[in-house]
Amino acid sequence: MLHKTKIILAAAITLLSTAAAYAEWKPERPVEFVVASGAGGGTDNFARTIQAIITKHDLMDQPIVVLNKGSGSGAEAFIYAKGNAGDPHKLIFATNNVYLLPHVAKLAYTSQDLEPIAALALDEFLIWVKADSEYKDAKSFIDAAKANPGQVPFGGSQSKDTDETLVALIEQETGADFKYVPFNGGGEVGVQLAGGHVAANVNNPNENLGQWQGGAIRPLCVFSPERMAGGEPVQGDMGWDDIPTCAEAGLPIESYQMPRTVWAPAGLPQDALAFYSDLLKKVTETPEWKEYVAKTSQTGRFLAGAEFKDFIGKSEENALKVFKAEGWLVQ
């Protein structure tokens, strides 16, 4: 009898406390920001900028701890999330690698192990060539690759990741044939291009900004539906908004963008999800965030909930087509 009462009492308390928590969920412990890249990379800057904004504007009561788990193209962070299922005190910072990686490598997690919270920005991709190269525009570059199949070296970051996927997409859409050479990261590929060891790369604006300013390399076109936001000229009298879109330049690829995303381990309470989504929304409204987006030449766009899931679905579908054609899929 006493036993039964205890159980009922316990159940009641649990219910009550859940109800109380439901009213307004708040982190009770320090929140871990798990970054799916090494220190100093694009994803790392993304996470640390958000950390700095939350701390500066006091958007959350609990302190933030940033952890870098970037090995295996970020797989380390996602497997870590799987191991901490249901923990509402861990956020994972990534790109589209969360849902694309399991298709090309046999890993101990699936995209179901992570719950999407929001995307905060879209990073652009451009075709860059050496400043003194013979290619005047995207078309002449593609034609050169068609004339010498397999001879034009195209540098990129990592293997079967966003860069190689884009190069494969260009090949499939135009019939050109490049020699893809993978390097460790965007910075390294930028230097290889400036040194003339590869003919082109598809770096994000931020990864090649320094080299462009220095006049070592120049952009041919950007894989975005519309031209990038303007601003001061970067090199000579050319600014970001002077770069034609690839569609304008005659490359039949409408858009190829990489989302900067935030995830949580699957199974966290709905109200915790709402709390973080709200928090990140507030972050994107601060002047510091706008400055970060402008400085890194990304496109600021906040996606959450169903909208974000739609985006993921489409992006995954497009990538899968490329993977299938290249024979990269793993079972």
């Binding site: 090494g38 220190a39 100093g40 990379g41 790392d44 800057n45 640390r48 900028t49 950390q51 700095a52 701390t55 940033v66 952890l67 788990k69 090995s71 295996g72 193209s73 797989a75 380390e76 497997i79 090309v104 490598a105 046999k106 890993l107 101990a108 070296p153 990592q158 293997s159 079967k160 990741d161 020699k179 893809y180 050479v181 993978p182 390097f183 460790n184 910075g187 390294e188 930028g190 230097v191 290889q192 400036a194 040194g195 003339g196 060891h197 931020n206 900004l209 320094g210 080299q211 300013q213 220095g214 006049g215 070592a216 400085k295």
Partner: protein, 505 residues
């Protein structure tokens, strides 16, 4: 001499009282994180970055860079005292530094290390000052074949004439290469040697292996040799510091050679770790007399330390001028640069001369400040060895495990430390050399990537390594470093049989 004027402007920025105070604080903080392997320089620097948001960029970079120098000094301290390298680049310092400290000459070992580190760093900064514009251009000439050639050169310089049996060296080297290939391959994107264990996807961390091999391995050997509950009776005297400084000029040849190796490896993308190994290997090849290396030879400390610091300093140049971080710590500092609104790249030198030359001037000052500070702490650190093993032993074990855990906050790494501790013990008992394994782990993966990239570019032709004078001469030099000692040995043997008298009297 335009650089000279800019440097003088830089000194005006670096030599303000507030900046000198920042350097002292930075070096001391760095020393603390360097000595406690639980923190490490990259973590220490990233902890400090949020504090720098409100500072002027030049003050912020001076703070972070000073902390980096301090951490490098601290890393050598633990290598020498406890055989635990705090930084990958101070592994080679353990080979002779630790035996010398065990001999009761901890003060001498530490002073030699710090002084040669300071000299190496100063030479590095001078090279940066004189060659800044040229060196950045030069680094651009390094494509995949050239990268491979530089790593290959480091391998050959170190392996060239090992003292251990060639077969045992080969076993150790190949084991290291196998370990370095664990995890996700950059070039193919496939997983290798992970056996379905998720923890191995990221590969085996070099630092974890080294902490196990050296730290835990050493403890096991100490225990087997009979537990001595007394500490080493090391003399602790500030006069010893000065006496050691006075003996430094005797090793001028080693110093000059190591500076050359260091600056070369710093400007080319070889990096400080490769530089320290290469310098140690060359010093060993050149030594003719005296007790063998690995038993506490002063040159065995001077060579890696000088090369490590001159390379580490020179490597700041590619970071600023090209935006390529040379180490994990440099990567964190670069992240900081971007947060402060500066873009590393060729334009940084023209658009922000105050920042760049302020930093370069601060490297002169901070290294001198650093050497003075660490020399003052030598007696204190040397006294640590007097503590009985019964107390310090468990502390070292704890430090090893904490240090390994913080590399990537993974419990799996603790098992690795234990496993490699046993490997280190077995290697020692069977007289297998550990150094080739360590070197292969540091450079193996990078060399493999560069080789693979070269092969993709050349469609599989090895001739790409002789495709231009730069790469051709590096590769040829590397091959000569391996071949010449063998030929000399062969010739000596021939002559010996002819004349029938020993060469050495």
């Amino acid at each position: 001499m335009e650089n000279f004027g800019l440097l003088l402007d830089g000194f005006q920025i670096a030599l303000t009282p507030s900046h000198i105070a920042i350097m002292v604080v930075g070096v001391l903080l760095g020393l603390v994180v360097g000595v406690l392997p639980g923190l490490g320089a990259p973590n220490g620097v990233s902890l400090l970055i949020p504090l720098t948001f409100s500072m002027e960029p030049v003050s912020a970079i001076i703070l972070l860079a000073s902390m980096y120098w301090g951490a490098l000094f601290g890393g050598s301290t633990t290598s020498i005292l406890f055989n635990i390298p705090g930084e990958p680049s101070s592994v080679a310092t353990t080979f002779d530094g630790y035996p010398m400290a065990r001999d009761g000459q901890a003060t001498r070992a530490l002073t030699l290390a710090f002084m040669s580190a300071g000299i190496g760093a100063l030479v590095g900064v001078i090279v940066i000052t004189l060659l800044s514009s040229w060196a950045a251009e030069f680094a651009l000439r390094f494509g995949a074949p050239e990268y491979f050639a530089v790593y290959f050169l480091a391998f050959c310089a170190f392996i060239g004439m090992g003292s251990a049996a060639p077969a045992k060296t080969a076993v150790s080297l190949l084991l290291g290469l196998a370990l370095s290939s664990v995890g996700m391959d950059t070039i193919t994107g496939s997983l290798r040697l992970t056996f379905g264990i998720s923890e191995l996807i990221g590969g085996i961390s070099f630092l974890v292996v080294v902490i196990g091999l050296f730290g835990i391995g050493e403890i096991l050997i100490t225990i087997q040799h009979g537990l001595k509950f007394r500490g080493v009776s090391s003399r602790v005297d500030l006069r010893d510091v000065f006496r050691t400084i006075a003996e430094l000029p005797r090793y001028y040849a080693t110093l000059i050679r190591s500076c050359l190796v260091g600056t070369w490896m710093g400007i080319t993308p070889g990096g400080p770790t490769a530089a320290s190994f290469m310098s140690y290997g060359i010093a060993r090849q050149w030594s003719r007399r005296g007790k063998p290396f690995g038993t506490g030879r002063p040159e065995g400390i001077i060579a890696p330390e000088t090369a490590d610091h001159s390379a580490g300093t020179c490597a700041m140049l590619p970071m600023l001028a090209l935006g390529v971080p040379s180490s994990a710590t440099a990567a964190v500092m670069m992240g900081g640069l971007m947060i402060w609104g500066l873009t590393p790249g060729p334009m940084l030198f023209t658009t922000k001369p105050d920042f760049v030359w302020g930093l370069i001037a601060s490297m002169y000052v901070a290294n001198i400040v650093g050497v003075i500070l660490v020399l003052a702490t030598v007696p204190m650190f040397a006294a640590l060895l007097r503590i009985p093993f019964a107390i310090i032993g468990p502390m070292i074990v704890a430090v090893c495990f904490v240090g390994a855990y913080t590399v990537s906050s993974a419990t799996f790494d603790l098992w690795l430390v234990l496993a490699f501790g046993i490997v280190g013990y077995v290697f020692n008992k069977l007289q297998y050399p550990i150094a080739p394994l360590v070197l292969a782990m540091v450079l193996g993966h990078k060399a493999e990537n560069a080789f693979h990239q070269s092969m993709i570019m050349s469609d599989g032709s090895v001739l790409v390594f002789w495709s231009n004078p730069l790469v051709g001469s590096i590769i040829t030099l590397a091959l000569a470093l391996v071949a010449v000692p063998q030929l000399v040995r062969f010739a000596t043997r021939l002559r010996r049989t002819e004349v029938d008298e020993p060469l050495v009297k």
